[in-house]
């Protein structure tokens, strides 16, 4: 375990991260001066909001050594449910706050479903969540149907994410609250301790009476709920419902968590680092677009970052007798 401690503790590595982020900002502003403008940095904050919410849930699951691939599917399903229950071009009744409750509820249920199947039927989490990913996409596609594009008709709602409060966009405030809740959850609750214990050494957690199964189900449930929440925010930002509203998010969230030193084998990492990882990737993407790089390269760049990051993290652990599947 200790061999891999590049960044010891969740906060201690944070300073070096701020330096890296500052370097990225300086380099890109030399390439395109518009990069460091206030408008663009606000734009970056808006772009970072959705992956920031997602990375909290993803980190909870990865800290246990499991993985949640279902984020994009759950985002699609929750986003479609939300828009169809809010003022949209298809008409229908505006359910107001209930739209939020039902949409995040769908996310919670899909997340809990992943957790229950993963633990009770003892199926690897990546297969279960590959399944729930497609269940989510399927639900969203059925809700989308063949009729009119459900675009958001309420100006107040569609402008809410980018509107400024105290100089920062609303969606970023929302994401910050979620990240803060994640930090508190990991640091100060029994659930958080349990998640770290499972990730660090599951057999030991079992014999010490840690309620492993309920904790795992809860972690997947929270991840699903946050994916649903992020789906609503992404739908608002897009201004219309779409089953593919979460497209590409998986390639931001998992690399972000991994480059920030959250080990895929579990037990190591934290919310602060994951959040900084998201910022790095979003800044990088924004900078590349402003530098005139074809957006088609994005999934390739993030994919390459993921590959390099997992190789770098696992490199010191190589051993002739080690088994990695």
């Amino acid at each position: 375990m200790d061999k891999r401690k590049l960044l010891h503790g969740d906060w201690q590595g944070a300073t070096s991260w701020v330096v890296i982020l500052a370097l990225v900002i300086i380099v890109f502003s030399f390439i395109n001066p518009r990069f460091a403008s206030i408008e663009n940095l606000r734009n970056v904050l808006v772009q970072a909001s959705v992956p920031l919410m997602l990375v909290v849930g993803a980190t909870l699951v990865i800290l246990m050594g499991s993985i949640d691939l279902s984020v994009q599917g759950i985002m699609g399903a929750a986003g479609m449910v939300w828009i169809l229950m809010s003022p949209n071009a298809r008409g229908g009744i505006d359910y107001g706050a209930w739209a939020w409750v039902v949409a995040t509820g769908i996310g919670l249920i899909l997340g809990l479903l992943s957790g229950v199947i993963h633990t009770l039927f003892r199926v690897p989490s990546f297969v279960v969540t590959l399944g729930t990913w497609n269940v989510g996409v399927g639900l969203a596609t059925i809700l989308y149907g063949d009729s009119l594009l459900p675009s958001l008709t309420s100006e107040a709602l569609s402008q809410w994410p980018t509107r400024l409060t105290l100089g920062l966009p609303n969606s970023f405030w929302l994401a910050s609250i979620v990240v803060l809740a994640g930090i508190l959850l990991i640091g100060f609750t029994q659930l958080g301790r349990g998640i770290l214990a499972i990730g660090n050494n599951e057999p030991l957690a079992v014999v010490n009476g840690v309620p492993v199964i309920p904790i795992k189900i809860a972690a997947f449930g929270i991840a699903g709920l946050l994916s649903g929440f992020a789906g609503i925010l992404a739908t608002m930002q897009l201004g219309s419902g779409a089953p593919g509203v979460g497209a590409g998010q998986l390639f931001t969230v998992i690399p972000a968590a991994v480059i920030a030193g959250t080990a895929l084998s579990g037990g190591e990492g934290g919310m602060v680092r994951s959040a900084l990882g998201v910022f790095l990737l979003i800044l990088l993407n924004n900078g590349l677009v402003l530098a005139g790089v074809d957006p088609n390269y994005q999934s390739g760049v993030f994919g390459a970052i993921l590959v390099i990051a997992i190789v770098a993290v696992d490199w010191p652990q190589r051993d002739r007798l080690r088994v990695a599947k």
């Binding site: 050594g65 059925i142 088609n296 390739g300 652990q317």
Partner: protein, 340 residues
Amino acid sequence: MNNSVKPDASAAVSPGSNSQSPVAGHFSHLAFWQAMGPFLVFAATVLTVSLVNPAFLGGTGIAIVTGAAASILLVALGQAMVLHIGSIDLSNAAIALLGAILMAMALPTFGIAGLIAVLVAVTFFGAVNGAIVAYCQVPSFALTLGMLGIFEAAALVTSGSETIYVTKNRELVTVLYHYRLAGVPLTFWMGVVVALLYWALLRFTSVGQGLTAIGKNEAGAIFAAVRTGWLKVLAFAISGFTAGLAGITIVAQAGSASASGLGSDLLLPGIAAALVGGTAISGGLTNPVSVIFGALTVAFVPIAVQAIGISAQAQSLVYGIFIIVVVVLTTTRSRDEIIK
């Protein structure tokens, strides 16, 4: 997914961890499922379709379904070989699509030589996956997820996000789709031949036994001097090569290739077909011949779904539930194992 073979706490605490899961232990019908399941599921699907839509099987329905099943079958066969060693290749469908695009670009100028060059290239891509998994010892699902992103970007960039039409030499590949043997396109027969070859590889050769040993007990295989690293590279290279063959079937059917066109959605059907074909996600149990029925079943799903009156849009929902149910039914479980 990451187990260390050095004696650690899991060995010490195993007697106490029995009560960890309420549904632990083997399902007794597992052996039966392995032998007959894939065929029975296929038969049930065909029965459903023929009851609801009797005209379907009489006309060109068979040709359409087997044509659609060909690319699924080939991707699934490659996936099954990787699942056989207990890993997974999330990038092989993207390799198939990239291969199809490269072939569509190479065919007009280089003809058959172009096809072969692309097959060599995709086999190499697969081998790179395998080499990183084997020698950097990283979890395959994470690595191939990253590779999936890279190959998707490569497909978009090489095609310029446009449809590449095969302007010359088109009939060299389209004949594979249009020529039918016993009412079934040659592309599907190609899949059947590959399945038989892989079955023989696993059944009769020491290489195949080495792959099985890795899937059943990798630590044991290492101690038994099985060359696990090399065999892992081989398994992933086979996956890349077979994905390239799937690329041929895509070009054969469409006469063109694009990053968002035919064949852009093969990953999940491929995994589903391998699993419905009785391949165990935990490794060591693969019958390529059963995967043929798995692929046919998966290709029938959209048609069966429509036949029983559910909209075609429910496809991915059905695939998703399919994967979960099949994995739940077929995963081999041992009491002390930690499942991540």
